[in-house]
């Protein structure tokens, strides 16, 4: 009888564990890459550096992401229908280019919530900045640091 009682207790515990919570359309994945511009002093200490952009565009869309704006932090969307997104950065005195490549983990959330993409393995195949670091190669809402740090000479 102890065996039965123990099995029923195990069954009840397993039943509680098995009651996972249904999806509520929540996702920590985001479809944008965050970039921050930095400068370093003689002691190699880095600090945020604001840049004045004439515009930031991508040849894959007609949208202009930034126009006549000064900022150190950028948020740029990636093309979910492609594995590469290019961005052109224009300033008074010229311009820069970054070509991002990435993979996607696709999953069905639910019929109501639709599809959820997680962008993973973010990398650059071409860029014209002095120096650049990929801090986080997975795009998630919960990550506080920028995905990309790039360094400029001021």
């Amino acid at each position: 009888m102890n065996l039965i009682r123990n099995f029923i207790i195990i069954l009840l515990i397993a039943a509680v564990i098995a009651c996972d919570v249904d999806s509520n359309c929540g996702s920590i994945a985001v479809n944008y890459v965050t970039l921050s511009s930095y400068t370093t002093n003689l002691n190699q200490e880095e600090s945020l550096a604001e840049i004045t952009y004439d515009s930031i565009i991508s040849p894959q869309t007609d949208s202009v992401f930034i126009k006549d704006s000064t900022t150190a932090n950028l948020i740029l969307p990636l093309d979910p229908g492609s594995s590469q997104t290019d961005f052109y950065f224009y300033y008074n005195e010229g311009g820069d280019t970054i070509s991002f490549t990435y993979g996607k983990r696709t999953r069905v959330d639910s019929p109501e919530c639709g599809i959820d993409f997680e962008f993973v393995g973010l990398d650059t195949i071409f860029q014209t900045y002095d120096s650049m670091i990929i801090v986080n190669d997975t795009l998630r809402r919960t990550i506080n640091a920028p995905n990309i740090k790039f360094y400029i000479n001021q």
């Binding site: 039965i4 069905v108 599809i115």
Partner: protein
Amino acid sequence: MRLILSFTLISSLLFSGSSFAQLQSRNASSNNANSKQNNQEQAPDTTKVNEYKPKVPKEFFIPTGIRIGTDLVALGIDAFGGKRERYEFQADIDIHRVYVAGSFGTSAYRSTGEGFDYSHEGNFYRIGLDANFLKYDPDYNTFTVGIRYATANFSEQLNVNSTDGVFGDYTESFTNDNVRARWFELTTGLRVNIFNNFYTGYTFRIQINRKIFNADEFRSYDIPGFGKAEFNNRWTFNYYLMYRIAWKEKGVMKRTR
């Protein structure tokens, strides 16, 4: 739906609990009666407990028949669900109070939603053991607890047709071929003889430790025999109609008085 299933689980546990309590009290009363008789006939020995365990004849361990049946819940989903076409067959063979149980099923599922169209096709099987706790039942009704190993083999396809706010419309197709999933189950079930050799009853399954292999292109959404792949653990419920094909008279333990 969960409320109904929870109620069913609780009521079955209560039923099984009361059955065991009844069996226990019967055993206890027969033991008491035996011990009283012994006390009167033999010299008093208060340190020894006189327990009588009937010896199980060896022929009881020879299988006497096979119960085969189908899952009525799956047939109901086929008839009224629309999205899923599932068939499941179950069989068990008795070895005294232990049943070797197995089931095989097929599943075809299609779901369309916000910007996607998903489908899978495959099969699954489960194999395991059940222990029967109704050892004195002359109709061979069973109340069992058991374990299963389950595995599913399937292919799934996902077509995405969506619109991005910045980059516009895009279409993609993903296919996972030869996906395999496996999990374990803790089960409890009841089978009741309704007439002749027909039995009916439920199996409540707690499915745990799900693993998926070869789902390379996208994350699996629905697994045949398991359900939504986003869960590692879940529970499910089957209601079977079964027929017992007997080739030998099954021996049943006689209750000691």
